[in-house]
């Protein structure tokens, strides 16, 4: 029997123990959420059980986080219902969620920097008006002891490492007596050892009878830690099954919707020559955390160099260092143009790099926050790279407009016109505009960060084609990606970053996923120098 109100047809596939009439403790039914014109979740179903670790699997942009945000009260669904123990509930705010015993650990930590761990933990809790911080600290220490966490309740958050902050988040949820814990890609920022500890804790909590949801797009984690896996694709629920009854291939198929027979073209590099040489680059960010350690590699012309790694392992810093947006502490970044003298780029600003005659294109991860100005139209966004052209102080409005119109036509950007603010375009079209502009300047080096994140298949292939085209024209392409299949299918060589270090460079034609996956998570003893392919 369906519980009251849970009508409708259950979408997706089912296998093994699960059946249509579920007696799950938490049920999400037909949840739909739109952001403007984009459909983030489309009539999603999900069952969550106590005493079980559920992996919510899906590619980036498949709506996993949005769906869980509705369970934790951050967003309110446009349509659909949520049932807890067969009773329909309304979760209008995080407070409602807490009251129902639901706690979420967000990917971007929700902590107040200037407060201590203990203060963060009791934030927003009801209780006596007067604070007894000592009692709180004691209780926090007790929880830490129970699960083997190591944090100082009186330490300020801004003094903490990333994994300590995550620990605070988890303790925060436990302190509130949460019965349902949702973790959004918790391992993205952790070292393998830290991940192992985390998983142990999660199992302990499961054995305690808690319901655990872990959002991830990493198959090996699903297999390692979860009891059941539910898969989302493009905002829709695809199916769920016990983890033991499935395998990586099946899950991948469900995730991407078809077997990963990626048909990405990979022409052989023609006459590759060193174009950009990075040597021993170290970089410390504004917060004083060292992000890059002795990074060395060479990017060749007419070749795509992939960069693989867990997110937050220094990819962003590396690209920004090359682009002149962050200043490395030491090392060298040398540009070697065809038949000309080599030029040192380190320490130069983006403008100075440009003035050196180096055309360096960069498609950053944050498209609307860095690569484009969301509120400006396509023409004005074209100008970001070219507005300085012309000898007068006035802008040349015509050529950017022509370029914009050309890109709209050539890349089939869906937009009412070049005067529409880019914020109003869909993700794929935004990216076409950005990539279109970046390659329009005929670069010698093209860097892309997560170029296909959140894009549909068609748009993704358009982007691969564009990148390959650049490669054929002799551009040195650096492609930072997260999907290993694509990296392996597209790139000539793949550099694997691990915690800010180069963990080796492998040949894209012979590499396999497992090998790269291992290199991403484990730092190897001997560092391989850049340029030595076939790792």
């Amino acid at each position: 029997m369906f519980p009251a109100g849970a009508g409708g047809i259950r979408p997706g596939r089912c296998k093994g123990e699960c059946s249509l009439d579920t007696n799950a403790s938490i049920k999400l039914r037909n949840i739909t959420k739109r952001f403007g014109t984009t459909l983030a979740n489309d009539r999603c179903w999900l069952d969550i059980n106590r005493g079980e670790i559920l992996a919510l699997l899906g590619e980036n942009g498949s709506g996993k986080t949005t769906l869980m945000n509705m369970l934790s009260g951050i967003y309110y669904p446009d349509e659909g219902q949520i049932f807890i123990d067969d009773k329909e509930v309304v979760i209008r705010s995080p407070k409602d969620a807490f009251d129902l015993g639901i706690g979420m650990i967000h990917q971007h930590f929700k902590l107040v920097d200037v407060l201590t761990a203990a203060e963060n933990i009791i934030l927003g809790l009801p209780g006596k008006g007067r604070l007894d911080m000592k009692a709180v600290s004691d209780k926090v220490r007790r929880i830490c002891q129970t699960y083997g966490f190591d944090i100082d309740p009186d330490q300020k958050i801004y003094d903490m490492s990333v994994s300590q902050k995550q620990t605070v988040e988890i303790v925060k949820v436990l302190y509130r007596g949460a019965e349902v814990l949702i973790l959004d890609e918790p391992t993205a920022v952790l070292t393998p050892q830290e991940t192992k500890t985390l998983f142990k804790v999660l199992r302990n909590m499961r054995d305690d009878g808690k319901a655990i949801v872990i959002i991830t797009h990493k198959l090996h984690e699903v297999e390692e830690v979860s009891d059941r896996v539910a898969i989302l694709r493009k905002g829709s629920f695809v199916g769920d099954m016990p983890t033991k009854d499935t395998n990586a291939r099946e899950m991948t198929n469900m995730m991407v919707g078809r077997p990963v027979a990626l048909n990405i073209e990979r022409p052989d590099p023609v006459d590759p020559k060193p174009r950009l040489e990075v040597r021993n680059v170290n970089l410390t960010d504004e917060e004083g955390i060292q992000r890059l350690f002795d990074v060395s590699f060479t990017a060749n012309s007419g070749e795509i160099l992939g960069i693989a790694g867990i997110s937050g392992c220094g990819q962003k810093e590396l690209l920004e260092a090359i682009a002149g947006l962050q200043r490395p502490d030491s090392g060298s970044i040398t540009f070697m143009p065809e038949g000309q003298e080599a030029r040192e780029l380190i320490g130069l600003t983006p403008r100075q790099i440009q003035q050196q005659g180096v055309v360096l294109s960069f498609v950053p991860e944050d498209r609307l926050g860095m690569g484009l100005v969301g509120s400006m139209d396509i023409t004005n966004n074209m100008m970001l790279r070219s507005y300085r052209s012309g000898s007068t102080g006035f802008l040349d409005m015509k050529s950017p407009r022509d370029l914009g119109e050309d890109i709209v036509k050539r890349l089939e950007v869906v937009t009412p016109g070049v005067t529409t603010p880019v914020r109003q375009l869909s993700g794929g079209n935004v990216q076409k505009v950005l990539v279109g502009r970046e390659i329009a300047s005929a670069p010698s080096v093209l860097m892309t960060a997560y170029a296909v994140r959140g894009l549909d298949i068609n748009s993704s292939y358009t982007i691969y084609d564009l990148i390959n085209q650049q490669k054929k024209e002799g551009v040195a392409v650096i492609y930072v990606g997260e999907d290993l299949d694509i990296l392996i299918g597209l790139c000539d060589r793949i550099l694997v970053l691990c915690s800010g270090r180069v963990n080796g460079i492998v040949d894209g034609r012979t590499a396999d996923k497992e090998q790269i996956g291992l290199m991403m998570t484990r730092l190897e003893g001997g560092e391989q120098e850049g340029g030595s392919a076939n790792g």
Partner: protein, 372 residues
Amino acid sequence: MGESVKYAVKEPLVHITRRTDIRSWKAWLIRVASVVLALIVNALFIYSVTGLDPVKVYTVMIQGTFQSTYNFLTSMRDVALLLCIAIALAPAFKMRFWNIGAEGQVLMGGLATALVMIYLGNAMPPWLLMVTMFAASIAAGALWAVIPAIFKAKWKTNETLFTLMMNYIAINIVDCLTNIWRGSKSSMGQINANTQAGWFPRLLGYRFTINIIIVLVLTVVMYIYLKYTKDGYEIAVIGESENTARYAGINVKRAIVRTLLISGAICGLAGCITVAGKNQTISVNTAGGYGFTAIIVAWLAKFNTFYMMLIAFILIVLEKGAIQIASAYTLLNDYAADIITGVILFFILGSEFFINYRVVFRARRDREEEQA
């Protein structure tokens, strides 16, 4: 079966989402509606406090500007002044630099003008005197704005609070100097009252023609500067996203300093216009709060200098109208204008919400779903 349960669920009564797709005529309709609403609220206020016929009061208010050529011209003079300061603030605000210090920058510009008039008034030919006055006021205004800008660029020192403090330093400096100049007299009187050295000459028979011409030119120039120049483009990019600006190779620090030099310079010029073209004297009230009002003008006009003209005009009509009703009705005084202005500002500020966000009520949502 499921459907019937759905309506028993308590959704939030109102649900707010951001919107980016509103048509511009609709946006203007909302703004006009908000002004109309504000006028109605003000009318209720006037009626309930004084029992006067609000329509009559409004009519008298409008006469403050349009009753006579003299009224109209002085109004235009003040519109020009307010507009001039708003023009000065536009580039700073457009790049999200909160220059709350226009009051002080105007005063410093006025002070520089007064200094030149007093000490060099008889020492140089009129044209050179005029040039010196302009140069001095521009430099003084720019100096007053660039100090906070440098600290903002270098250490991200909060510019809202910094510029605010600079106002009072300027006020005290002017207070000090005017005290020296007036000596034992109760007020300074007009500078160079005999020689009229440094006074803006009459043009086309009117006293304030030069003021208005300068500001009209500035209006056009600033419009072009913001919209069609490379500097203006940089300002727009920085205002939207400093990250993108760095990505595009814009030197953000230099742009901040450059823009505030311009902003302060125009404020200084406004001070010059006030001293040489309006009051022919200086006091702590020379800026007269216009430095603050201009912020509102620039913000509400979204930094479009021609919209600013309209908003400055409306605010001055209100101000002049207040003086008019204060003399026409014993029950009202000229502070009524501040209330009326305040209420109108509140409504316009509030109306932006309905332009940027969509508000969906529970009942309406259900209806929309039924239709779908």
